[in-house]
């Protein structure tokens, strides 16, 4: 196993236009959500997370039963973690904790898990960071070493919004690579989790009239955003031709994206954040 097995490899990408300081907030352009399903697969590849989700008794947060609600709460989590204030994060943490309290393995569970396990949460946060870094660099070009460090440091709230401690994040971006390679060694997927994820990939949870036309595109984007180790775990195929198509597509998207003002690129995340604040004010359920 080498580094290229754990992260996607891009041969041709858009050029970097600037060396200004960056933060993870710059990565919330709506195109980034093209990597959403791939990120779910990455997160669930760790058995503790996979079984925690597949066996979860919290139906209101079940991706296959309430897909739109789950999409809203997940994207709201990212918006709150990256753009929110510490009050926003505290409110969301409290709401997530309430749901997470029900997520722990039972006597019949094949693996032991608990949603408050800080190592499992660190893995999920690391997956989110990898997803944001990959999409950001596809849209804005490869970061300089200094920018990578700033981007990485600003993304820690992806974990610290829940129970991950700052001490759990490897201190530098280079050390994160070591953590990631080592954590990827713990990827294991059995049929139960794989079937669950294939249902997601086949859009079984939404109306087929809506889902069918998007299925090929979602599959293409999802497998494109998966590093080889995750592709192997899922048992999905990829080819050099598809890779070049994927890179060309994102060169085009990146070019168009440069011309979009931020309120179009990131408007969705700010709307979701405003919705969180409205729910907090009116004391309505967040998740």
């Amino acid at each position: 196993m080498t580094a290229t097995d754990f992260r996607i490899t891009i041969h041709r990408r858009t050029a970097r236009w600037d060396t200004e300081p960056v933060t993870a907030a710059d990565a919330l352009d709506f195109w980034s959500f093209a990597a959403g399903a791939a990120n779910v697969i990455m997160q669930l590849s760790r058995p503790g997370v996979g079984y925690g989700v597949v066996e979860s008794k919290v139906d209101s947060g079940n991706l296959l039963k309430h897909p739109w609600k789950r999409a809203r709460t997940t994207f709201q989590y990212i918006a709150v973690a990256v753009l929110g204030t510490s009050e926003d994060r505290a409110a969301f943490r409290e709401a997530v904790n309430t749901a997470h309290r029900h997520v722990k393995s039972g006597p019949d569970s094949p693996v032991r898990y608990n949603a408050f396990d800080r190592d499992l949460q660190m893995w999920v946060a690391a997956c989110l960071f990898v997803g944001l870094e990959d999409t950001y660099q596809l849209l804005r070009g490869q970061m300089t070493a200094e920018q990578s460090e700033q981007f990485y440091r600003s993304a820690w709230t992806l974990g610290t919004t829940l129970q991950v401690g700052e001490d759990q994040w490897p201190p530098t971006r280079a050390e994160f690579d070591e953590y990631w390679a080592q954590a990827c060694g713990r990827i294991a997927m059995d049929d139960r989790v794989r079937d669950y994820l294939l249902d997601l990939l086949n859009l079984r949870m939404i109306n087929p009239v809506l889902g069918l036309p998007f299925r090929p595109l979602l599959k293409f984007l999802t497998v494109g955003f998966l590093a080889p180790v995750f592709r192997d775990a899922m048992g999905v195929q990829w080819s050099d031709f598809r890779q070049s198509l994927f890179e060309r597509l994102f060169q085009l998207v990146a070019f168009a994206n440069r011309f979009l003002p931020v309120f179009i690129r990131q408007g969705g995340s700010y709307v979701l954040l405003a919705d969180v604040r409205r729910r907090v004010r009116r004391q309505r359920a967040l998740v």
Partner: protein
């Protein structure tokens, strides 16, 4: 209130983003202009006259300057 005005006035956009914003705003503007020209929205003067090149120019002129033509049409009727 004052804070949000200041925030709005201090908002920064790249030139590329300005070009994109202009293009996005131009789409509905041009569509309205084309519809206006096609349905002959100006009932007073025959604003699309001439032949050949001058006709093309007046069609383009009508598409681009539909708000002005709209005002003059309303004022003259």
């Amino acid at each position: 209130m004052l804070t949000s005005v200041r925030k709005l006035l201090a908002f920064e956009m790249t030139i590329a983003e300005w070009i994109g914003t202009a293009a996005i705003l131009a789409v509905p503007y041009v569509i309205v202009g084309m519809v206006w020209t096609a349905v002959g929205g100006d009932p007073v003067g025959d604003h699309i006259g001439g032949q050949g090149q001058s006709r093309i120019l007046s069609i383009l002129g009508s598409i681009v300057s539909w708000p002005v033509l709209l005002v003059s049409t309303v004022c003259m009727t």
